[in-house]
Amino acid sequence: MKKKFVPYLFVAPYIIHFLLFVGFPVGFSIYLTFHDWNIISPMEFIGLANYERLFNDTLFWKSLKNTLIFLLIHIPLQIIVALFLAELLTQKIKLKNFFRASYFMPVVVSGVVITILWQQLYGFESGLLNRLLTYIGIKKIGWLTDPNWAMPSIAIMATWKNVGLYIVLFLVGLQTIPQQYYEAAELEGATHLQKFFKITLPMINPTIFMVVILSTIGGFSLFIEPYVMTGGGPLNSTLSAVLYIYKQGFFYYHMGYAATLGFFFAFIILLVVFIQKKFVEREY
């Protein structure tokens, strides 16, 4: 009799937590999207006005576009760099662990630290990057001050921060490729590049897709980097979707509208990830 009770006792924390912190928020979120509310005064039912506002809110669409620009630069860059370094690390070389550990270092450090650091590297007058450019005779770049460069700059920094993790994932993936393939190709006289494009790349495809999906989800939550580095500027060019939701909710206290933005944005994320997954399933 007592025994039957035990499993439920064990999963009870999960059920309570799920109802409170997942079930209720999702339900309440949908309810909130039909209301105007600043938390203090009573909630006001406004029908679909929040949705109407969202579709006409150029700033929201801009934040969405910015997030997309971020992903379109960050993901390909990350795959190329990670795969390149992982390839090098599979060669017979010494100090492998040291290299791997140093590439992984930025992964563990807080995003705030990385952002403060890169703010200096990106400095216009005395930043390291512009000094290097001047040294080799190229004009200085307004990394964080030029609206065309600000988001790419953040994407480069994010790549630097995360690439170590993806190097490790690629290393795991590369280990699963049977050595015989390479040996056979060598007998046929294949070059390094041929081996890479004909064997490595097709065999590592599942890992590439995993990296794409993981960094899509990560990229959609972009917040602290623009918040600390640029505050969303210049000219809102680095305003990410999460930063915009944060501003609507906790600067202006438009809870109903912020919930609408969150709800709609989550829907887009699910859609994008779903399409990516479908794409993977079709490939295999």
Partner: protein, 269 residues
Amino acid sequence: MKKVLYYSVLILGSFIFLYPFIWMLSASISPENEIGNLIFLPSNVNFSNYLLIFDKIPIDKAFINSIFVSVSTTLGVLIFSSMIGYALSRLEFKGRDLIFYIIIFTMTLPFQITLIPQYILIVKFGWVDSYAGLIVPYLINAFAIIMFRQYFKSIPQDLIDAARIDGCSELRIIFGILWPNSIPAIITVGIITFMNTWNEVLWPLIVIRDESKMTMPQLVTLFAVGGRAESQLGLKLAAATLLALPIVIAYVIFQKYFIQSMASSGLKE
């Protein structure tokens, strides 16, 4: 010859990934007018930035808050997810599969949708400016539950049966028998939870307003964007160094486990 090329690229790579950290450390102990030099060795070492930062913001208090929040969240996650993982993998009960599917489903749910209502819930509970507001929402973690469920499945049933015959309670089985046999799972879940909690910024920014309750990344963020650092770059870098140091030290010591944990989970953020 090819080897030389490989090593050059790899060493250059290491330099690119490590240089900013070394520069941060050296700049934070340099005199303010030498920070722009981007060299490693300051003309004279001084720790005035570190002394000043303790005067300017309650960073010592924030350090203790961060430790408290991260350690209790990690312990809570380990205890709860091993209990839930045990029930899901080793006990028979009605609704088990349903709960498992719900867990999988919540893993795919973007946090952006729950952010605003979760904050409202915290307000209604009166948990604004409290440790509970920081800890409780993170005590249950779908990834950790799945991890323990998988791991417990691989432990022989004989071990559990023998314990039951000896009259062990279910709790004793989890923490006395399964835990000592699940060290890799505990390390993986522990490291990832601790790291994510230590580095979390968005949620503390939302829940905590009172400076004495803030976590380290939150306090450093507000210091960096709030204008209190003014043009004193050295101060900002000292604050950033203090925030990075605990995780970097842990990483240098347990490097192997960090990398393995993250690779086996394939997850971050």
